[in-house]
Symmetry: C2
Subunit: 689 residues, 2 copies
């Protein structure tokens, strides 16, 4: 860690985080909503209690849900007419914070107001809203969101439940034709729900118009399940046991024609089907698209949980001591170990990057849902961005919670430190509201479509030159020529290498170049089969599935980098900006480090430069290390939100007491002599004789 490169990485002396400034920036556009929500959630009545049976936890969560209504914490998305704020961005921002109290409460609320309520709001008519929203909003009608079945989760279009229109009685007959069509994992269903929105294949006049949504009562006011409906409990889960998930099946249950949530598809008295969207495919995706909020709120919650994890681990890492290293009397603070820095600081960087990406996502959601820009194009962008950020943020939270828990050793495993509890609850975020791998395939689909569209409009000359450049590159790469030249120039100059890596444009080129090349490569592999029959196409697609998923991940890497770079560019305070720039560099370079084989194999980084990357990252994490506490403090959470023994200062007190004990002992005449010291003295004495 020579001084030689300090000049290249910025003025270490003036680097300092203005925590108030950074906090305001990270709270983002809906800072006030977040602050209000956090204030409400300081109340212990909302906090998760460990060691409850699922029965007791469910009871508590239901009570908490009612308390949220009383606190006016959950109506921001609803129309003003019904007592809401019609503020969609603020709604999600506030909702994200619930995870700090109890993820079960978040998910139970999400089911009630974000899914059940949102289905009525977005898929229903004004008449439907008027009839059902008040009861949904005040929780007098708890409801389930009956989409997923035993047999179909990710592939919603293939649900087995049917809703067949009977013009005789003007009713729909809701039916579960086989066991795999039984609804499953429905929050609120096992105990509390008296109603549900049920997704089923709409069949009228002998035609299946695809999946539509129906409002149904499922229990009477005494909590008895209605005739023709069977409900089972999903039982104990890996987490979120405050939510009463259940299984629901229907035996030819009749509901009035009115109960079809008919914004995107309606059935007339005589059974005639009409829809404002002609294409059944587009209609289906439009209906599902209104529910993108679920994904957006999950990613936001996952980021909040990652922040809590890092507050715990960084604080403890700054107080906990283990092993003597540079001193014989004072043990080393954990965060002074390089490995500890390497474990926590890149995760801190990615968490901050995700925070900025989430802010962009919220902005886009607000544009679409407020009607500011609800064009198809913008809706699609929202869907793609939400899919990418949700997948990466939820996985990242599991990874960060786990690393933080391990970084706190045994203490990390005790529930009072919440890492294991949060991790258990958030585990399912990786597969619900869209399995992460399926979401990444959606992202890839969009990337490939964009690429195809780009080519369609390119004139022949541009296309030719593009292809020629590609071919030229490939020949160069194949023979390793360009790289060999680069290596001669690079030889041994670590400073020049670091200077290169830290440049914003270099980082952008590397990350963006990778996405572009991967898309070109995949598209090239898939193009020859574009005209083959569907089964052959599917086979070739499948043979590149792994590559396709990696392309989406590369895209998300870039997306996060861009959000973080934009975020830091808005920072006025010089010292804060310096620290955040290092953090951004750490995000960029650890991301590149993880896929360094690609950069080497594709001649984007020379072997010489590649060898300097890891040591340079090691220096960067050491540079951010003194500011780590300030950064986590800037997340703006109060002790009532953190609630971890490791972050309480108790460890510092214990360490100080122990240090003081030994200090006094050394100064006294009672101190026992160490056997090793005794032996050394005896040996020295023997020698001197």
């Amino acid at each position: 860690m020579g001084a030689h490169d300090d000049a290249n990485t910025g003025p270490i002396d003036t680097a300092a985080v203005d925590t108030a400034h950074l906090e305001q920036l990270m709270l983002g556009r809906w800072a006030e909503t977040r602050r209000t929500a956090r204030e409400v959630l300081k109340d212990p009545q909302f906090h998760k209690v460990e060691n409850l049976t699922k029965e007791d936890h469910r009871e508590r969560t239901l009570k908490q849900s009612h308390a949220l209504v009383d606190a006016k914490a959950v109506h921001r998305a609803f129309p003003k007419e019904f007592g809401g704020d019609n503020d969609h961005g603020a709604n999600i921002a506030g909702f994200e914070e619930l995870v700090t109290a109890d993820p079960s409460l978040q998910i139970k609320s999400g089911v009630q107001w974000g899914l059940f309520g949102a289905a009525v709001l977005h898929l229903g008519s004004y008449e439907h809203q008027k009839q059902w929203l008040p009861g949904i909003m005040d929780l007098s009608v708890p409801g389930a969101y009956a989409m997923t079945e035993f047999g179909h989760g990710s592939d919603v279009a293939s649900l087995g439940t049917t809703a067949t229109y009977d013009p005789e009685t003007q009713e729909f007959v809701i039916n579960t034709p086989f066991a795999a069509a039984t609804k499953r994992y429905l929050g609120n269903a096992a105990l509390d729900a008296t109603a549900a929105v049920v997704f089923a294949q709409l069949i009228t006049n002998g035609v299946n118009h695809g999946v539509h949504c129906f409002y149904m009562e499922i229990r009477d006011s005494d909590g008895r399940v209605l005739p023709g409906i069977t409900i089972n409990d999903d039982g104990h889960k890996g987490g979120l046991n405050g939510v009463d998930n259940g299984q629901v099946s229907f035996d030819h249950v009749r509901v009035p024609r009115f109960n079809l949530l008919n914004r995107y598809g309606d059935v007339a008295e005589d059974g005639t089907y009409t829809s404002p969207i002609e294409s059944p495919g587009r209609r289906f995706f439009t209906m599902l698209g209104t529910l993108v909020q679920g994904r957006v709120s999950l990613s936001g919650a996952a980021i909040a949980a990652s922040k809590l994890a890092l507050i715990g681990a960084v604080t403890y890492g700054n107080q906990r001591r283990q092993f003597n290293a540079t001193s014989t009397t004072e043990e080393e603070v954990l965060l002074d170990y390089q490995l500890h820095q390497r474990r926590l600081i890149p995760r801190l960087a990615k968490t901050v990057a995700l925070g900025f990406a989430q802010e962009k996502l919220l902005g886009k959601l607000d544009e679409v849902f407020s009607g500011k820009d609800d064009s198809d194009e913008n809706r699609q962008e929202l869907e793609t961005l939400a899919a990418a950020v949700k997948a990466v943020a939820t996985w990242h939270s599991l990874d960060t919670l786990q690393e933080a828990r391990e970084a706190c050793g045994g203490a990390g495993f005790i529930s009072e430190n919440r890492f294991t509890s949060l991790r258990a609850d958030l585990d399912v975020y990786a597969t619900f509201e869209g399995d992460n791998n399926v979401l990444l395939q959606l992202v890839a689909k969009r990337l490939l479509a964009d690429y195809a569209a780009e080519f369609k409009n390119a004139d022949v000359g541009a296309l030719a030159s593009y292809v020629a450049n590609q071919a030229g590159d490939r020949v160069m790469h194949r023979f390793g020529l360009r790289r060999a030249l680069q290596e001669v120039r690079d030889t041994g100059d670590e400073r020049r290498s670091a200077n290169w890596f830290k440049q914003t444009e270099v980082q952008r080129d590397l990350l963006a170049g990778r996405v572009r090349q991967m898309v070109v490569d995949v598209a090239g592999e898939l193009r020859p089969v574009a005209k083959l029959p569907a089964d052959k196409q599917a086979k070739v697609f499948n043979e590149h599935q792994f590559e396709i998923i990696n392309t989406s991940k590369a895209h998300t890497d870039l997306l996060l980098w861009e959000a973080l770079t934009e975020g830091l560019e808005s920072i006025q305070d010089h010292g804060t900006r310096q620290v955040m720039t290092w953090l951004r560099d750490i995000y960029a370079l650890t991301t590149i480090e993880e896929t360094l084989d690609w950069y080497l194999g594709n001649g984007r980084i020379s072997a010489q430069r590649a060898r300097t990357l890891s040591p340079y990252i090691n220096r960067l994490v050491a540079r951010v290390r003194p500011h780590a506490q300030d950064i986590v403090d800037s997340f703006g959470y109060a002790p009532e939100h953190v609630r971890m023994e490791v972050a309480s200062g108790a460890e510092l007190k214990r360490q100080d007491e122990a240090l003081e004990h030994y200090r006094k002992l050394r100064a006294s005449s009672d101190a026992p002599l160490d056997e090793k010291t005794l032996l050394d003295r005896q040996r020295a004495l023997a020698k001197s004789r």
Copy 2:
């Protein structure tokens, strides 16, 4: 997936797993013990029940522990004289299986017989054994293993608890001098233990002889905590809530001189200290070394849990269908998706490799503990191997359980499928009995010491030529020359590349070459500071900590590969051997793929070859895919051990019923027409007019 490379990868037609043969091989040397243990554990009384409070779970686990005594399942390691088998390998083999019943039961038993009992057995005299082992073995004396403190876990040598000898009364005074010296996380301590083995600094005649172990009573026969002792409950944990972990502190509690477990250090009546091992450092490590069994049994348990996870996910992956791809009427089975193969099959390969490595580890443990070869050299080898395998196996189990749970979607989150439950329980395995990262540092220390020893004995000529070769290599690598030449030869020939990667010698060279080069590189970085003061050395060491840990990981990769290669070479059956060879290749090549940047950056693999690696792995996993079920079936677990709904065949039944429903519907006249089909027909009609 062209046919062109089939010739290179073996005869696909004859590949078939003889499951009975493979099962016997994987059960290993202690197959009979494993079978006996598994038979006992079929009994539902031993199975984990979900949704218990920690109080109820603790009660159940204590009862189960007594039932294990009755079933004679836990005494294999103890001397025959006391009713044991004196069979150390068999003891761990049997113990590993407990995890299939309930990990809490495993850990509670591990504390009682593996730690508390083993301390008396290995650190005590014959008098101690005679006095205490019978009560320990029959569980009439439940005990705690009081090593870890609030302030010290990994660094046992620095424990704060003191045991000061008082020659007046011939007693030791056990004391907790400050809060951080309070014992913590002690299994059995919160409720059940009436005794404990307590680790404390032995001070006599004014000299501290380091950490020794003392047998103490901590509760009376009515369960009341004895005077001077304070016990608190560690509370709810992320898992293992059947174990009653507690905190214990001592206020000048006196124990008889006899209670020092004195095999490696004794105090005479007058306070004179004697030890058969002169060096305090070596003495300390010898005492701790007798407890290596804990690590060995944790890795074995982690491997067993990984096997359960894969049984669940592979079985479900073979039955669950989602999305139409190659057929319009039959959805795709999950395991036919490349990504799904990529997620599960490399983890299957690593699990099998770990199984063989564990078998070697057990063999070595048996050699040392049976006295067949308990040389210092062999003890050290055992310690290093145990550290490496424990770290990698426990992390691998968490990774595999998580991937398996996600691969089963929402079903993976329901406790009846056990993934989340096992994961929660096994989480702490990564940090207890030695934090994994600390263990990997031990491994690195040994690697560096071996390297130094090798050089010490090398004559000057050998040394010079070795160094010269190194230098030659480096110059070549720096200019990318050798690699460039290799690339020209490799150009575009995927078959030649696959032929190269599949060779046993090539894999060995790649994996072993990496370890060797990394050791040389690290040693080279550390050598210049070998003569600097300790604090400077520590600083430089710290600046390479990340690299050092990665070196240990590379070493373990090789070790697993060697164990798997040895294992498969003993297979007689041709078809089984073929499948296992592919599996070994998958282990080798995915391991290389993960660190491909190193191989590229160090000129070990050309960019051309590197580009063929991932597609080749994709073909290999597809080739093993039809055998995946046979491999997991060969783990030899019965339904009573697996106990997962996803592995019960229920999904297949549901899928078949749904397929049959649609088949009948298509054949009938009632089948509704799909709106898309209707639109297509209308368009065709319009056109034809």
